[in-house]
């Protein structure tokens, strides 16, 4: 069971990184830890990203979820997607 959840998370993270890489090929998403706080992703990027994530993972990311801590790292984004998908 744990392995299934783990595998699902890994797959989702891979999908997420692919979406991010298409959105901003110039950013090293796997190593950045303050994507929003440091202004690497701006508000236009966030809106495009949310639209992509909503359609790709069939979730609804609301305005309340647009906190820097939810988008500063790939792991935080994956956690948010996971939370909303449950």
């Amino acid at each position: 069971m744990r392995t299934a959840i783990y595998e699902r998370m890994i797959k989702m993270k891979e999908q997420l990184i692919k979406i991010l890489a298409e959105l901003r090929p110039d950013v090293d998403f796997e190593n950045e830890t303050a994507l929003v706080t440091d202004g690497i992703l701006d508000s236009f990027d966030i809106v495009s990203l949310v639209a992509e994530l909503n359609s790709e993972f069939d979730i609804t990311i609301g305005v309340d979820d647009l906190e820097p801590e939810n988008f500063d790292t790939v792991d935080a984004m994956a956690e948010l997607i996971n939370e909303l998908a449950d």
Binding site: S43, F44, V47, I61
Partner: protein, 531 residues
């Protein structure tokens, strides 16, 4: 009462003494008392609008909070609800909350719109009616704009939206809400604080901390220097060019708008330093409103560094909600079909940005020139995003190195130029005047004015020009050090005491000798307090 006055200095001193004498638990009451004295110093006037706003946001937040708590309790007591049931419940609760929030927002913004825009809207409406033969005198209201209404309305409404979103619990004590809305250093020109960041600092009593006290005074002094030895002098040139714009052409107009850019930066960021300095003496860290905006390499970046708290407010409460709304999402689907994936996808986002910048524009005042000021920035930002792929291709084809210093410098200068053009709209007397200035600017290429003495006819003597140049150099060096991550006051704190005193006393003497005092200056007024 203004920031640069004996009355303010005495209020600051008295409130600081009382603050640190009072028991920790009640220190916030000293801040509230000082804020009330500050706000009503000139009489009640139209100050009751601020009190009404406090009452409205207090009640709205309490009701919203009640709904939030009830919803959470229900979920807790019914753990077996299905996902769909939870979703339906959430929607139902949100609907109720939305009604309450809307009432609160409408009332708060009605005060602002009515007092700030009624006369303008009335004149425009009756002007249009006149075209259709309806001749009548436009009704006008004769009420002074309440102090700080443009700032406190945004601050107060952000509080109720944050409670609505469940990010905050509502404050139970209305006096504390009043302190949050009216905290005295910031009510006239911001920074527009958020409840979650500012309110806890206001309510908890801070113990006296000599370092904070010293840093606060130093920041205030630095702000005063920017205001009195730079903004005021730059204002003389800007006033001359913007008032007599028909006497000038070409580069002089450009210089006028650039000088105004420096003036408004020194004035507004200087005011912010003073305000943040006042608060820091009490141990309160206010939001940062400027991060060296003239180092920005694009107009979008400029707006992330300039008047940050206004931009953040627009982003969180206008841009994001609009961009992520169902209406905009369905618009996006339609525009994709018509304009293709890239443009179609971006159009709704551009529209949301357009609305946000339109609001930024009219927030500054009721005039068409502010509308164009907002839209100019929006068009530049959206246009640059839209053309980005083309731009990159061209740069690649021309083999332009975009990593080197000279390219980055070019980007900074280009941004400064674009921002300066926008400033013509915000500073000129009217929209007609701003278009005339642009026409005059592009009608002649006259670089010789830089060397033929024309610059000395703009209101400043050679000595004053030299002084201004010196202050700009100091400001530039300080900004550069900050940009590199250096914390100036902390670095100064590590030096020997003698050196620290020399710097501070030197700054005070410089301010006393060269500060813009006297009848020809109106240092008490800050550009942004009129908004």
């Amino acid at each position: 009462m203004t920031l640069i006055s004996v009355e303010f200095a005495l209020l600051w001193l008295a409130s600081a003494i009382l603050y640190f004498i009072f028991p920790l638990k009640y220190r916030w009451t000293v801040l509230l008392a000082a804020s009330t004295v500050f706000y009503f110093w000139g009489g009640i006037g139209t100050g009751y609008f601020m009190l009404l706003t406090v009452a409205v946001v207090y009640l709205t937040a309490r009701v919203l909070d009640k709904y939030n708590v009830e919803h959470k309790e229900y979920l807790k007591n019914n753990p077996d609800l299905t996902r769909d049931e939870k979703k339906a419940l959430k929607l139902k609760n949100q609907k109720k909350k939305r009604v309450i929030l809307s009432v609160g927002l409408v009332i708060c913004f009605a005060f602002l719109v009515f007092l700030k825009y009624f006369n303008f809207l009335s004149q425009q409406t009756f002007g249009i009616l006149g075209i259709f033969g309806v001749q009548a005198k436009a009704p006008e209201i004769d009420l002074a704009l309440p102090l700080g209404i443009s700032f406190y309305t945004l601050q107060a409404t952000s509080y109720i939206v944050d409670v609505y979103r469940g990010k905050l619990r509502a404050e139970k004590n209305i006096a504390k809400v009043m302190l949050f809305v009216s905290f005295f250093p910031q009510i006239i020109q911001g920074p527009i604080g958020r409840f979650g960041h500012l309110a806890p600092q206001l309510y908890e009593g801070h113990r006296f901390n000599f370092t904070q006290f010293k840093y606060g005074l130093q920041l205030f002094l630095w702000g005063l220097i920017k205001k009195l030895t730079l903004a005021e002098y730059m204002g003389i040139i800007a006033d001359e060019v913007f008032t007599n714009y028909n006497d000038y052409k070409g580069i002089i107009i450009l210089i006028g708008s650039m000088v105004y850019g420096v003036q408004v930066y020194a004035d507004f960021s200087g005011g912010m330093d003073m305000i943040r300095g006042v608060a820091q003496v009490f141990g309160i860290e206010m939001a940062v409103n400027f991060e060296r905006p003239y180092f920005a390499r694009s107009v979008a970046e400029f707006w992330r560094r300039w008047h940050i708290t206004l931009g953040a407010w627009m982003k969180d409460y206008v841009f994001y909600p609009l961009s992520l709304s169902k209406a905009f999402a369905s618009m996006g689907k339609k525009t994709r079909k018509v304009f293709g994936t890239y443009i179609g996808k971006m159009l709704p986002t551009f529209l949301a940005s357009f609305v946000a910048f339109f609001l930024v524009g009219i927030w500054h005042g009721s005039s068409y020139k502010y509308v164009i000021y907002g839209l100019w920035n929006s068009v530049i930002i959206s246009g640059s995003i839209l053309l980005d792929p083309v731009y990159k291709k061209v740069l690649k084809k021309l083999k332009v190195n975009t990593e080197c210093f000279s390219w980055q410098l070019f980007q900074i200068v280009r941004t400064f130029f674009l921002v300066s053009i926008g400033r013509i709209f915000s500073r000129a007397d009217s929209l007609t005047a701003s278009f005339a200035m642009l026409r005059n600017m592009f009608s002649e290429f006259n670089p010789w004015v830089l060397t033929d003495g024309t610059l000395y006819e703009l209101g400043l003597t050679a000595r004053e020009m030299f002084l201004v140049f010196l202050v700009i150099i100091v400001l530039f060096v300080v900004s550069l050090m900050q940009e590199k991550g250096m914390k100036i006051r902390e670095a100064l704190d590590k030096q020997n005491m003698l050196f620290q005193w020399l710097v501070v006393i030197g700054a005070i003497i410089f301010l006393m000798i060269y500060g813009a005092y006297g009848e020809s200056f109106n240092a008490a007024d800050f550009v942004y307090q009129q908004f």
